[in-house]
Symmetry: C2
Subunit: 216 residues, 2 copies
DNA sequence: CGGAGCTTTGAATGTATTCAAACGCCGTGG
DNA sequence: CCACGGCGTTTGAATACATTCAAAGCTCCG
């Protein structure tokens, strides 16, 4: 069990991975950087997500994991983890499934930054993240807590913070979202999905917005 | 065992996955499309690659797999595959590792389309693909077969075919590549890696003795 | 020889970036 | 209590990178 302050790294690029983590509380992100400092957030990690950084691959890891809010994580060491996998194949299978869902989301992100316009891109990120939060019971009707800064959204969408700001204004003006401080509201999810060219299949969420434990 | 002609789909979006495939011969790609037809290639599949389309996830699949050249694939059905995994945990582990490497590459693609300029992006795609070909013995010194069209490269990099064309010309002019018909030559891999801001860690290739220019 | 598919070229346009500065909010310290 | 500073957001103008549209050229194959 570990606690990390907001804006600090849980894992830095270049370290060797020794743990698999469960995110208990807070938001984090996986990111990659280029030599000159350009940074891409490649996924958001939300409460309930299980993640690691190239655990089975050994070698140096190629990306970092940073806390967006203060977070608490539970960690399990490599040997214990391996033992667990062997002792309980059902867990192994569930973890594998979780990773495959994460991979599916990753492909969608590639599509997102590669093909969608700035407006669609942000819309899509909002929809996806809201639905993931909803699936773990962290939404409140049409609203949820929204910790990432516009700079974070810029890194996640491949845009600049300035342009993210302008697109968010447009989203507000068109009534698709309300975003006051850290409170996000999506008054008409169907409309936002349409603006985002959103198609839910890739998320592999349980059919009902009930409780699921999936992650990674 | 199945053979597919160039430019045809092996799996179409919306189908249900029933097989895991091994690509025996030729190039293929995984792609996703938006409702209005915009298309993103999310990965290239090269000989030796094992792939499927959401096999363990069930449900409808969210992407297609198309042949770039004529391909031959070996397929294994769901039940046989499950039996294999249970009978031979080492194979299961190796497959899991393979998927994790694919996921790592997918994250790099997100970085690629999100942060790199058009020139860097193409350079990176060329380096990555060449190294993957090299790792399965499909290169010939500094050269390899290069089947994808400029339209394919456009779909893979999130650029237009016109702009891909201009960037390829620039790559040729600067001496970083030679590309005549289907023959690609990279005379100075280290230089191309530098232009691409390439960093090899994410590929998790087995170290090969006698290769020039590790990483960058 | 003809045609289809791919590549190349040019000019005009547009989306997103860059740079710079001001604003607002909030916690801290004087 | 108010001033200060930091951080995140907002604004504007100029610029740059990539797109769009249109057409011509090339190459391979039937």
């Amino acid at each position: 069990m570990r606690a990390i302050a907001a804006r600090r790294d849980l894992i830095r690029e270049g370290e060797s991975p020794h743990f698999v983590y469960l995110l208990l509380d807070g938001w984090a992100c996986r990111y990659k950087t280029l030599a000159d400092g350009r940074r891409q957030i490649v996924s958001f990690l939300l409460p309930g997500d299980i993640f690691d950084a190239g655990f089975l691959l050994l070698g140096k890891i190629d990306h970092g994991i940073a806390a967006i809010t203060p977070i608490r994580v539970g960690g399990i060491g490599r040997d214990d983890f391996e033992a667990l996998l062997e002792a309980c194949p059902k867990i192994a299978k569930a973890l594998w499934r979780g990773e495959r869902i994460a991979a599916s989301i990753q492909r969608e992100w590639t599509l997102n930054v590669g093909q969608r316009t700035a407006f669609e891109r942000l819309s899509h990120l909002l929809v996806e993240t809201f639905l993931r939060l909803e699936s773990v019971g962290l939404t409140n009707g049409q609203s949820c807590d929204w910790p990432p800064t516009q700079a974070d959204l810029a890194d996640a969408t491949g845009l600049t913070a300035v342009h993210v700001n302008r697109m968010l204004q447009e989203l507000r003006r068109s009534g698709l979202i309300a975003l006051n401080g850290r409170a996000l509201t999506i008054p008409d999810m169907a409309a936002l999905k349409q603006a985002a060219l959103f198609s839910a299949a890739y998320l592999h969420l349980a059919p009902r917005p009930g409780r699921t434990g999936e992650g990674a």
